[in-house]
């Protein structure tokens, strides 16, 4: 019985424990109240702005495409009226094709990358189960190396100003948010592109993640793939033809 007699030691310990508990629970509560509602408010209004700007982007792109078609038409009329324009107009058509402003078709490959459908084991690094922007970049770079002539990623044409960028967990291409599955379509020498992707020294990390964690990675040769036209801006604002020779 004497073991449970209250002495100073026990009282002190009890008080310390009590204070500790109260302080911690207060901190916890204060933190929960401060951060969550404020942040949630900011985030939802930012999300609304993103949505609005994305809709605006969509309609601006549609307007741009429409104008390009109209211009081609007028260019055709001008050429029909004036033979001397034919050569330069042909030149312009070719440059527009090279720039990615025209939808293209031809033989090639399709590469699909998608998040794993396996559920991660406890303690696993989640990032092994999802597709990252640098993996897409590696595939795109290899396809250019394999002789690709035109390429798209989901519905975005890859052009000279295209970056494959990541902000947090979002992948941005041509300033447009993409979501998985990611499909890269490339026109060109299919055998050469396929061989390069399949080579044992290529994309070793992606291939091992596919084996180990079920990251989805498929390469498919196709008789005909189509690649959409670029719909975004091609800004030339700061560059001028260098005339000093």
């Amino acid at each position: 019985m004497s073991a449970w007699r209250i002495n100073r030691w026990t009282v002190a310990l009890g008080i310390v424990g009590l204070i500790l508990g109260i302080v911690l629970s207060m901190r916890w509560k204060a933190q929960a109240q401060n951060t969550v509602p404020v942040e949630a408010g900011v985030r939802s209004s930012a999300a609304a702005s993103i949505k609005r700007l994305e809709e605006e982007q969509k309609s601006l792109r549609a307007r741009l495409t429409e104008l390009q078609k109209e211009l081609e038409l007028y260019q055709g009329i001008a050429v029909a009226r004036n033979d001397s324009l034919a050569e330069i107009a042909q030149d312009l058509d070719n440059q527009r094709i090279l720039a990615g402003l025209v939808p293209m078709k031809g033989p090639g490959v399709k590469v699909v990358l998608d998040d794993s459908t396996k559920s991660p084991a406890p303690g696993d690094d989640l990032s092994n189960y999802i597709v990252h922007e640098y993996q897409l970049r590696d595939v795109v770079n290899l396809l250019w190396e394999g002789g690709a002539e035109a390429m798209s990623l989901n519905n975005e044409r890859i052009v000279g100003s295209t970056s494959i960028y990541c902000v947090g967990s979002t992948i941005l291409v041509n300033n447009t948010r993409l979501s998985p599955p990611y499909e890269i379509a490339a026109i060109g020498n299919a055998a050469s592109m396929e061989n390069l992707l399949n080579r044992s020294t290529s994309l070793t990390k992606i291939k091992s993640l596919a084996r180990q964690y079920g990251l989805q990675f498929r390469i498919q040769r196709a008789k005909e793939v189509t690649v959409v036209a670029y719909e975004g801006p091609l800004t030339v604002k700061y560059s001028t033809q260098n005339t000093v020779k």
């Binding site: 211009l71 440059q95 033989p107």
Partner: protein, 224 residues
């Protein structure tokens, strides 16, 4: 006496463990809360800023095409020619078929970096709105390929050796900010190559040469 001691010991250990548990839980909680929220609001800010810039560019391009269209509608032979020539010029700049000059940034790296470092640098410059990019006197176009072998980097089948000098034409403030931002491409580069000398400078007049490679279309045809 002995039993009282042991009860106190148990109580102390018990309190200690509870305290430890609570603190650990609190710390992990506050860390995860901070991570997801900070990341997503920064993330959203970046997505927003990308969209704002992209829409501004779209508006500018729409106005320029409307001007072109207006000049076609005037139907004077000379204005048609001028319009086509101007547009051809613009396309050739985009495709790297014209030597260009303008303001921008120069990135200077005194020693060998990896192929991934170089690709990241180019990707960052593109994302920041570079209109023309050059590396050691070579124009980088859409289909440019950076490779690596034992001896170093190869761009479009031409070997380049350090120092690597990347030049990009565009808004020099925007380009510099993008390249030098915290957690950005040069910071990572400096971290991975602590001994390297890496400098970024804004330039008012850069010249980037014409593309010398062989990119063209042999398999692709117009889909219409």
């Amino acid at each position: 006496m002995f039993r009282q001691r042991s009860a106190q010991v148990y109580l102390t250990i018990f309190c200690f463990l509870i305290g430890l548990g609570v603190i650990m839980q609190l710390r992990t909680q506050s860390r995860t809360v901070k991570d997801t929220q900070a990341q997503s609001s920064v993330e959203q800010a970046q997505v927003l800023s990308n969209l704002v810039d992209s829409n501004a560019d779209l508006n500018r391009e729409i106005r320029s095409l409307e001007d072109q269209l207006a000049s076609f509608k005037q139907t004077s032979g000379q204005s048609e020619l001028d319009t086509i020539v101007a547009e051809l010029n613009r396309m050739k700049i985009i495709n790297g078929r014209i030597e260009v000059s303008g303001q921008g940034v120069e990135i200077w790296i005194d020693r060998r970096i990896t192929v991934l470092d170089m690709q990241d640098l180019i990707n960052e410059l593109r994302n920041a709105g570079a209109e023309a990019i050059g590396v050691n006197g070579q124009r980088i176009i859409m289909a440019s390929v950076v490779k690596e072998d034992k001896e170093g980097l190869i761009i479009d089948d031409i070997r380049i050796s350090p120092p690597y000098i990347l030049t990009a034409i565009g808004n020099s403030d925007t380009l510099e900010r993008a390249v030098e931002r915290k957690g950005g491409v040069t910071q990572i580069l400096r971290y991975n190559h602590p001994e390297a000398v890496i400098s970024v400078s804004k330039e008012t007049h850069l010249v980037i040469p014409i593309y010398q490679g062989t990119f063209g279309m042999n398999y692709a045809t117009v889909a219409k």
